[in-house]
């Protein structure tokens, strides 16, 4: 409750939070098919129809409703972003915690492995995963998840290493607390703040990467809609039908902006040490 109040009191938090909330509603509607028209339905007679009362954002080359496709696309983007960041967070946290706790050889092997993954530029690593598994929504989830796992591992390992040597952890050990209890109760709980900030910012990156992958034709496959794919399709028609460029571009931008603003606000609120005015 207190955190919600703080977000609301923070100017970026207020705007970012509002944008994210609106997008969540759109994404849910899009994912569950609550759209004004069927996103796949081709109204041939209304091809390349400009924005109007019946098609608020116009129609595309095949006469499909842009607003409905946009909503479905937002649903897709958020699904990919959510699941990829969730998996990266879970795997990264477990790896980071165990690396810090067990140390020695396990830590060395694990962190070198993360160094190897970090040696690839993100989009390249994602492309490599897509090549192996073949393009698709869940491949994007796996690709983006793998790209961000090393980052979460590092975010967790650093602070976990210093927490491990703190008195309250020693005390817990002396009292005979189990390893799992100490790891989850004493280490993990103290890492919630940096993790929350990282998750919010990672969601923004994941949306960006997903849009990039689907723009290249390696993400969600047609005829399903995705924002990157819609933009890519708009390239040859942008003079004739600028709404095909404008709405998906705006939708991608605003969604990333929302998470960036929220992430900035959360960093200010939860981590005063790294506060950047």
């Amino acid at each position: 409750m207190r955190i919600l109040k703080s977000i609301f009191a923070h100017p970026s938090g207020r705007i970012g939070g509002a944008i994210v909330l609106v997008y969540l509603v759109i994404a849910l509607c899009g994912a569950f098919g609550l759209t004004p028209h069927d996103p796949l339905m081709q109204y041939r007679i209304d091809r390349l129809h400009g924005p109007s009362a019946s098609y608020w954002m116009g129609t595309d080359l095949f006469g499909r409703d842009v607003l409905s496709r946009l909503m479905q696309g937002v649903g897709q983007s958020f699904t990919v972003a959510f699941f990829s960041v969730a998996s990266a967070t879970i795997v990264g946290t477990v790896l980071g915690l165990t690396a810090a706790w067990y140390g020695k050889r396990w830590d060395t092997v694990l962190m070198r492995l993360m160094d190897v993954l970090l040696a690839f530029p993100a989009i390249l690593l994602a492309l490599l995963v897509v090549t192996i598994v073949g393009p698709g929504t869940w491949t994007s989830v796996a690709a983006i998840g793998i790209v961000y796992t090393p980052i979460f591992t590092r975010v967790v390992r650093g602070p976990a290493l210093s927490l491990k040597t703190r008195d309250f952890v020693d005390a817990a050990r002396t009292f005979g607390s189990s390893r799992t209890y100490i790891l989850t109760r004493h280490l993990l709980l103290n890492l919630v703040a940096p993790l929350t900030v990282q998750v919010t910012l990672a969601l923004a990156w994941a949306l960006l990467t997903e849009a990039g992958l689907s723009f290249l034709g390696l993400g969600t496959q047609p005829p399903a809609a995705s924002l990157g794919l819609m933009l890519s399709d708009s390239r040859n028609l942008m003079e004739q039908a600028p709404w095909l460029l404008a709405f998906p571009a705006l939708a991608i931008m605003l969604s990333i902006l929302g998470f960036n603003l929220l992430g900035d606000a959360l960093r200010d609120i939860l981590d005063p040490k790294t506060r950047r005015a």
Binding site: P121, L124, I132, L208
Partner: protein, 319 residues
């Protein structure tokens, strides 16, 4: 010194790791490479022909033997032969690299030319309307993917001025500098814009930190003109995080800006990798990914070193 030695010692290890990951990843791709190479014509091969092709390319050997052959080949610059281009992989990569390098340098230049002054300007007007304006623009810039910027630029140029940017062609800088710039300026600006936003944010916050330092206060108290305080005393120290950020970004850009190269149909490294992946040109993907990762690691190492040079207070040993 300790830290540097450890970093250098880990370098070959990480590189070997990268080569293993790339090698295994490519072999996990479904389908055999002979079918991928020949397409539908592979069906016409007799089992004997298929076997002799496999022997020729060495793919009938166990993975470990194949890996060893590839790995030892790396030391003599032999990355294999690209099936699509019919040329050695290294030759294909080096043909594409100048464009990627130029694009990376140009876009960095644009980003720094916009970002640093904007960040300094905002920091000196902290919490005033001008600062707020710069921050809002930077935030929006940071949230706009480069391909959105690129498409909007193309749209504005074609609708507003009736000109279409030159696409698909690349004239090397040394052949015709003007022609080269006319082809590169738009993609470079596209990449530079997105990056300028991050540079602005980082230089603003670094500048704010430095401006509250004691030595800046001392300089002001001594009566040093404000301009000089900002540009001569404060800025050099505020540049440390900007250098780090630029280095990392430069490393990324050397891997080829896949999407921007795709939009402007530029024959750079990124687009080459994408095409090689789509064509299943395994040798090329393998070689190019290793080349890119190698560059990326070298740049990151140099950034770490530059860190110590720029700010002698930073002691790398402790990290």
């Amino acid at each position: 010194m300790n830290y540097l030695i450890r970093r250098l010692a880990a370098f070959p290890l990480v590189l070997i790791g990268v080569s293993v990951v790339v090698f295994v990843a490519i072999r996990l791709v479904p389908g055999d490479s002979i079918t991928a190479m020949l397409g539908t014509e592979a069906g016409l091969l007799t089992p004997q022909q298929r076997q002799s092709l496999a022997t020729y390319f060495g793919i009938d050997q166990p993975w470990i033997v194949q890996y060893w052959r590839w790995f030892t080949g790396l030391f003599s610059g032999d990355l294999g032969i690209s099936v699509t281009y019919g040329k050695p992989v290294l030759t294909v990569i080096l043909e594409r690299f100048p464009l990627t390098l130029e694009l990376a340098l140009l876009s960095m230049l644009i980003a720094l030319a916009i970002g640093v002054p904007a960040g300094v300007y905002a920091a000196t007007r902290n919490e005033r309307p001008a600062d707020l304006g710069v921050r809002i623009v930077a935030m929006i810039g940071q949230s706009t993917p480069s391909f959105v910027v690129g498409l909007i630029l193309i749209y504005l140029l074609s609708v507003g001025f009736g000109v279409l940017p030159t696409m698909g062609a690349f004239t090397p800088l040394w052949q015709d500098p003007l022609q080269n710039l006319s082809q590169m300026i738009l993609p470079a600006f596209t990449l530079g814009c997105a990056f300028a936003a991050s540079v602005t944010r980082v230089s603003r916050s670094a500048m704010l930190d430095v401006l509250s330092d004691d030595y800046v206060r001392t300089a002001r108290a001594k009566g040093v003109p404000e301009r000089k305080v900002i540009w001569r005393h404060a800025l050099p120290n505020a540049l440390v995080p900007v250098v780090t950020l630029s280095g990392i970004e430069f490393g990324y850009l050397l891997g080829g800006a896949v999407i921007v190269e795709q939009i402007f149909a530029l024959p750079g490294l990124g687009r080459m990798v994408l095409e090689a992946i789509l064509q299943r040109d395994y040798a090329l993907v393998q070689g190019a990914v290793l080349f890119i990762a190698f560059n990326f690691m070298i740049v990151n190492l140099l950034v770490d070193l530059a860190y110590a040079v720029l700010d002698p207070r930073i002691r790398l040993e402790g990290r």
